[in-house]
Symmetry: C2
Subunit: 230 residues, 2 copies
DNA sequence: ACCATATTCTAAAGATCATTAGACTACTGT
DNA sequence: ACAGTAGTCTAATGATCTTTAGAATATGGT
């Protein structure tokens, strides 16, 4: 009877396919690429720069992600722009990261040492922040690059890429509390901003989550360049 | 300034940790082990038999899962029993499998060819099935091994390991519809049972999902040996 | 048409992984 | 104490993966 063999073959084939997704997310580099892409479509060049990989290496990793159908390329002019194949990829990324944080003490330790070890910067609760934004009680700064901001940001936030922060500091109202956010819990931009702002006498806190976490939580999202110019 | 370097180091460390989970689920064998463990605690011996791996190889894969903190061993007498470290591991497994089914046409093709290509066996809807069970309109057969049944099963289901099906066939009431389930969509037990039952003149359908999917959907679960003896 | 740029493809190096064999540990039964 | 069983650990094999270099392709600007 071939049933046992055949059943085994089918199981191997099916689990083998599922493992393709597993392989795609088994490299730190590819995880970082996925996370960056969750902030919007990006060219290979941009991705390589943001991950500090060579273009060739970034391209090779993107190929693996592409073959696992997690990302899709779009060619425009000289550039190839990659984006997540569906929303569900970002959701899955977050659930993988959550599981890792829950299961692996090492993750908590590293992030505690690096992020928790500095000055107290209470992470702000999301819902609470939203109502305070709507009440106009707080200035929200988005420290990511302009294209990331344009692809989606917290409603009412102001685009202020970290490089421009020092220059543009004076335009931030001093009388209001400032909340800074960036790419998420593993990103240091908001940390640096809060340190600078605090040093200059602002009341500044860091939103522990980034835009991806905000959007995945089903909270409202604003698109386009609003707030970028003023 | 060391900020850039340091930030990169931290990112690598954190994504490297997350990738540990990714590596753990990047092998077909480990995925199958995880899925089996979602049906309850099992010894290395049982796991090796069910996956058709050698004990040594199964042990090596379990070690990887253990090092990723996805499973935990418990030693009792001569045997080492492994179980999932938390419920969330099963949930994560299901979300990975769902993503794979959504993204990879190959998964759909293989399962279509193998499961869809046979006689029509409409998968039964879960909620609907539950109300029909409660109304006593349907006989539900659990074809998994006895220990798996004891660890948790659909309420009112009857334990009937596939090996005993032919012997015990006559004890199944002929006037009621029969619904069979097993380990889930990649498992052939319910398929075989439905073929046999249909050949014997029963009205039999297959529940496409297995116990893990049922439990993850938040539906009620029954434990112990009830129904196993009669 | 020609050159520069962005990216991929191919190939090759070293690193890591899967699998198995052999030695070893721990427990059970006699 | 002794033998037998279950499982792990170590080491070795071949297979696969990561990274980089070099060649190839495609696009846009001149």
């Amino acid at each position: 009877m071939t049933a046992a063999l055949s059943s085994r073959t089918v199981k191997n084939a099916l689990y083998g396919q599922v493992a393709r997704i597993g392989k795609a997310v088994s490299s730190p580099q590819r995880l970082e690429l996925l996370h960056l892409l969750a902030h919007g479509e990006k060219s290979v060049e941009t991705l390589a720069a943001q991950t500090q990989l060579t273009i060739k290496n970034a391209s090779a990793h993107l190929r693996v992600l592409r073959e696992a159908r997690l990302v899709e390329p779009r060619k425009e002019g000289q550039h190839v722009y990659y984006r997540l194949a569906e929303e569900g990829v970002a959701t899955f990324f977050l659930s993988l990261r959550d599981l890792a944080e829950r299961r692996l003490a090492e993750v908590r330790e590293v992030s505690q040492q690096y992020f928790g070890g500095r000055k107290q910067m209470t992470p702000v609760d999301r819902r609470q922040l939203l109502s305070r934004i709507r009440a106009g009680e707080v200035t929200v700064l988005d420290l990511r690059d302009e294209p990331e901001f344009a692809a989606g940001h917290i409603p009412g936030a102001r685009s202020l890429p970290i490089r421009e922060l020092k220059k543009t500091l004076r335009s931030i109202p001093r009388d209001q509390e400032v909340v800074a956010y960036c790419h998420g819990p593993y990103c240091v931009l908001s940390l640096e901003a809060v340190q600078l702002l605090t040093a200059k006498g602002y009341r500044a806190t860091r939103l522990d989550d980034g835009f991806v976490e905000w959007a995945a939580a089903g909270l409202p999202v604003e698109r386009g360049r609003t707030g970028a110019s003023r």
